[in-house]
């Protein structure tokens, strides 16, 4: 084994890392289980706590929280019919009916085993795909990076949960914000409105905290309602073994859902919620017993949970290799990497290889830790959901947002940035523009601008603009993907209008029906 991998293993197996994994997964499960608190918010608030840690320990903790929170969302999906995180939407379809039938513990064990399996498969893809992809990124020049950013933005719009057009505009707003500060080429100071604070642009971490924490806090206070009645359950002997045997007899379901989750996680903007829904849809489509879905079947929970946890690692693949986050929590992790002085790309797997591989190995341990922790903490989490009103945490979340924004550079201006961005994000959310596309636009903006400007310089120096932008093989592939990502939702919408929506439409109807029941 290479010395770098051995060092990484040593780093992740040291007692502090192991304790951080247990703490991170436990905290993640609790955050994920409480509707209103999201994985992104938890990671954004925890980034400042990692400043004083070594890079390995900081990333291990954030990765454990991310994995734990996505899995934790299944608890509230099963026990109160409300997804704790958006990733657990599809889990409600069969998880809650199982709980209503008195099979809550069976549903939780299914979700746990499926999450562990999906998570480990996703991390395996991450470990084996990332280094060659990062090396492949060396063949990317400025035009390729420009088209990569364009593809990322169009795909964000295409998979936007509410409206493709609003997703596209959201990405554009993020791009506009990214142009504030000194230009990457020629150095003009842009849109700083005469203030020194904006001369270097918008600080990324305060902006991320503002986008993901403040609107959530305002929403949770606005929609001040109780979390609903938690269905009680008791642990049953041999349930883990019984569910395990049931899932072992469905290898294709588990493997397909996990691979789908990973692949969907890789697509920028398509997070665990889409992974869960598409995988659930595929489970229905390929099942011999289609009518059992929606009534409380183990297969439905397993398909949704293995996919959404696999998407965690999937979302990290483009982030670690190309600097394009696949999902909002990965965008915050991107900011955490930059703070540790690590830039995504091939260097991450060579110069910073020990830290990167330790982080990847820790994700496997975090997923394995979910099995005992999920089973042991399950009832405590249910009690927490019953007792804690997330609204009561609003002042503390805002305080931690301020402390987190300030402590990066010990600069009060970063608190102002966070608050202004947060209020802007709240107003935009009210108008239907979700933070995800805006943040991804903010991150992709510098990549796109640098690619565009350098490509224009290349064209000026020798080649024609057409040859530089449209004449290179990788650029052509990215252009085709960009066009396809714009066309695909239009085609799907047209098919739906003609009544050919297929099972995905059935899933949407089922979802709507569940929401009505929940009301």
């Amino acid at each position: 084994m290479e010395p770098m991998l051995l060092d990484a293993l040593t780093g992740v197996l040291d007692p502090v890392s192991l304790v951080l994994i247990v703490l991170g997964v436990s905290a993640g499960i609790m955050v994920g289980a409480l509707p209103g608190l999201t994985a992104t918010m938890a990671i954004a608030l925890l980034v400042p706590f990692t400043f004083g840690m070594s890079p390995i320990h900081g990333l291990v903790l954030l990765g454990a929280i991310y994995s734990g929170a996505i899995y934790g969302g299944s608890f509230s999906a099963i026990l109160i019919n409300t997804p704790g995180t958006p990733s657990a939407i599809a889990t409600t379809f069969d998880g809650f009916p199982m709980a209503q039938k008195g099979e809550a513990y069976r549903a939780i064990v299914t979700a746990t085993l499926a999450s562990v399996f999906g998570g480990v498969v996703g991390v395996a893809f991450l470990i084996f795909l990332s280094p060659p992809l990062a090396r492949a990124s060396l063949s990317f020049g400025p035009p390729e990076y420009f088209w990569l950013a364009a593809f990322g933005l169009t795909i964000i719009a295409a998979v936007s949960p509410r409206s493709t057009l609003k997703g596209l505009i959201g990405g554009g707003i993020g791009l506009m914000i990214s142009t504030i500060g000194i230009a990457p080429i020629e150095g003009s100071v842009r849109y700083n409105f005469g203030t020194v604070a904006l001369q270097n642009g918008i600080s990324l971490i305060p902006a991320l905290i503002g986008f993901f924490c403040i609107p959530e806090v305002l929403r949770m206070v606005e929609e001040s309602h109780s979390s609903g009645t938690v269905i009680p359950y008791k642990r049953q002997r041999n349930m883990v073994a019984r569910v395990f045997h049931r899932l072992v007899r469905r290898p294709w379901l588990m493997v397909r859902s996990s691979v789908l989750g990973t692949v969907i996680g890789i697509i920028p903007g398509a997070g665990g919620n889409i992974a869960g829904l598409v995988s659930y849809n595929e489970a229905i489509r390929t099942s011999r017993n289609k009518s059992s879905f929606g009534t409380g079947t183990v297969d439905g929970v397993a398909a949704a949970e293995s996919a959404n946890n696999a998407s965690v690692a999937g979302a990290l693949i483009p982030m670690l290799t190309l600097g394009v986050p696949g999902a909002p929590p990965a965008a915050v992790l991107f900011g955490a990497l930059l703070l540790q002085g690590m830039r995504p790309g091939p260097e991450l797997f060579s110069a910073h290889g020990t830290i990167t591989y330790a982080f990847l190995f820790s994700l496997i341990l975090a997923n394995l830790a979910m099995l005992p922790l999920g089973i042991l903490l399950g009832r405590a989490v249910a009690r927490l959901m019953q007792r804690v009103r997330v609204q009561t945490m609003a002042p503390l979340i805002i305080f931690l947002s301020m402390v987190g924004s300030y402590s990066i550079y010990n600069n009060v201006a970063d608190i102002y940035t966070m608050v202004v961005v947060g209020l802007l994000a709240h107003a935009l959310r009210k108008a239907g523009f979700m933070p995800g596309p805006i943040v991804l636009g903010l991150i992709l903006g510098p990549i796109a601008e640098k690619g565009l400007s350098q490509s224009l310089l290349m064209a000026r120096a020798g080649g024609s603009i057409g040859a530089v932008f449209f004449g290179r093989p990788i650029a052509i592939v990215l252009i085709v993907l960009t066009v396809a990502s714009i066309a695909a939702p239009l085609v799907l919408q047209a098919r739906e209008r003609r009544g050919k929506g297929g099972t995905l439409k059935a899933v949407q109807e089922l979802r709507h029906q569940r929401q009505e029941e929940a009301k």
């Binding site: 400042p48 706590f49 004083g52 509410r162 409206s163 057009l165 609003k166 596209l168 505009i169 554009g172 791009l175 506009m176 142009t179 230009a183 080429i185 020629e186 150095g187 003009s188 842009r190 849109y191 806090v217 305002l218 929403r219 206070v221 606005e222 929609e223 001040s224 309602h225 009103r389 609204q391 009561t392 609003a394 002042p395 503390l396 805002i398 305080f399 931690l400 301020m402 402390v403 300030y406 402590s407 010990n410 009060v412 608190i415 102002y416 608050v419 947060g422 209020l423 935009l428 009210k430 108008a431 239907g432 523009f433 903006g445 796109a448 565009l452 400007s453 224009l456 310089l457 009301k519």
Partner: protein
């Protein structure tokens, strides 16, 4: 505000912002102005499409939160005002004092109408002081003390 009005007002504001972004780029050097202008153009066109679709009745539908709209707006409005007050107090009174005031004001707004308001605020205050000390003593973060501090 109706969905139609929200779509229209946001489209108009975004078009205005895009126009400003485009015009302000005039003062930048040539290569520094290209990208902001391209982005402003895309946002302007997309916002115009949003406005047209809304006018002809095909505007995107936004899911509205359920419950009493007046109560919701009152809660979020006062909370936003408290957030601004909290932030404005930091340079004057320092982060700790500003946060204590902010938490109390925000606690009263957030917990209004719930049981155990005083207990909830006390827990929130205790947590704030604990985290403040953790960052200052363990992580050595030099928090702003304010002109009164």
């Amino acid at each position: 505000m109706t969905q139609r009005a929200r779509n229209l007002s946001s489209a108009v504001m975004l078009m205005a912002a895009a126009v400003y972004w485009f015009i302000a780029a005039e003062s930048f050097r040539p290569l520094s102005r290209i990208f902001p202008r391209v982005v402003a153009g895309v946002v302007f066109v997309a916002a115009a499409v949003l406005a047209v679709l809304t006018i002809i009745g095909y505007g995107p539908v936004i899911r509205m939160a359920t419950g009493d709209a007046g109560e919701r707006h009152l809660r979020s409005g006062t909370l936003m005002a408290a957030l601004v007050l909290w932030t404005a107090l930091i340079p004057l009174a320092g982060l700790l004092i500003a946060s204590i005031v902010g938490v109390v004001v925000m606690g009263v707004i957030t917990f209004r109408g719930h049981h155990g308001t005083v207990r909830a605020i006390a827990i929130a205050l205790g947590s704030v002081v604990a985290f403040y000390l953790l960052f200052q003593i363990v992580l050595h973060v030099p928090f702003p003390l304010g002109v009164l501090g």
